[in-house]
């Protein structure tokens, strides 16, 4: 499965969060990046056809941006207005059955984005236009991935954020324990390539144990379902 991440950020070079996400994303196979603001440095007419062609090659498309006044920066809106023509989206259905994900970064605490919080509205409400677009285009809208107050995260929180982000862009949806386990086993297997023989052996044993535990969980689930089904 291939993923395209479209980044909209007028001050990309100054953003530690975007730099972090970019470095993470580049380590993942089958994930490509496109910087919308860079595209608009070139002639606008040229990009439309080229972008439409490019988008059709990907199964998952991600809009990644900092929240500016409860929406995306202007460059993403410009891109959508230019590239997502009626013919491309509605008549020819060229985005149908693809997935649309949103990676949004916040300067404020995510907990404030709810009724009673200082921001009052939820992230889901604020991102509704993207959800409506996905619906119109026949795409599957993924739960938005929110990064808030990156600067305040501790080292281990950043490590977990990195993996959550990589899974969001590249793992099989939904992000159930089963799918996350498969993704991690895949990455651990990939890690073996650069390791000594002793560490490779260690990784093999780890992978084997993780897979065995997952099988045990699956068996237990079957048993529980059987018992529940026999109850009144």
């Amino acid at each position: 499965m291939k993923t395209l991440i479209l980044i909209s950020h007028p001050k990309l070079a100054d953003s530690a969060t975007q730099e972090f996400l970019k470095t993470a994303g580049k380590s993942q196979a089958n994930v490509d990046f496109e910087y919308i603001d860079d595209l608009y440095k070139e002639t606008k007419i040229d990009i439309i056809q080229q972008q439409q062609q490019q988008l059709t090659k990907y199964r998952r498309i991600i809009f990644q941006f900092p929240m500016y006044w409860y929406s995306s920066p202007a460059s993403l809106k410009q891109y959508m207005d230019d590239v997502f023509t009626r013919k491309f989206v509605v008549a020819n259905h060229l985005l149908r059955n693809k997935e649309l994900g949103i990676v949004v970064t916040l300067g404020d605490a995510e907990a404030e984005f709810q009724a009673g919080g200082s921001e009052h509205f939820t992230i889901s409400e604020l991102l509704r236009p993207f959800e409506a677009f996905a619906n119109k285009a026949g795409m599957t809208y993924l739960k938005p991935f929110v990064v808030n107050q990156f600067g305040y995260l501790e080292e281990d929180q950043k490590e977990l954020l990195l993996v959550d982000y990589l899974q969001y862009v590249s793992a099989q949806m939904p992000l159930s324990l089963d799918n996350r386990e498969k993704w991690l086993v895949d990455r651990l297997t990939h890690m073996k390539q650069e390791k000594s023989a002793a560490d490779q052996q260690k990784l093999d044993l780890i992978i084997g144990s993780i897979e065995a535990q997952q099988d045990q969980i699956d068996d237990l689930k079957v048993n529980i379902k059987m018992i529940r089904d026999q109850e009144e």
């Binding site: 977990l160 386990e181 991690l184 560490d199 993780i210 997952q214």
Partner: protein
């Protein structure tokens, strides 16, 4: 906490100590978190089976 779980976390910790890449360190941290989650799910599932089998309704 099962013995397998302790052993797994120990092995993952050892690999992380010798790891310089932030990305690989992150994958190892996430693997540790996954192992904890698996352990919890196994425990909860076993408890549920015990409770359902030993339900007083069936006495």
């Amino acid at each position: 906490m099962s013995e397998t779980n302790d052993w797994l976390k120990n092995q993952l910790g050892q690999l992380k100590e010798g790891e310089s890449s932030f990305i690989n360190r992150s994958v190892l941290t996430a693997a540790k978190a996954l192992v904890n989650e698996q352990d919890k799910r196994i425990r909860q599932a076993q408890d549920e089976i015990d409770e359902r089998i030993w339900s007083p309704d069936k006495w």
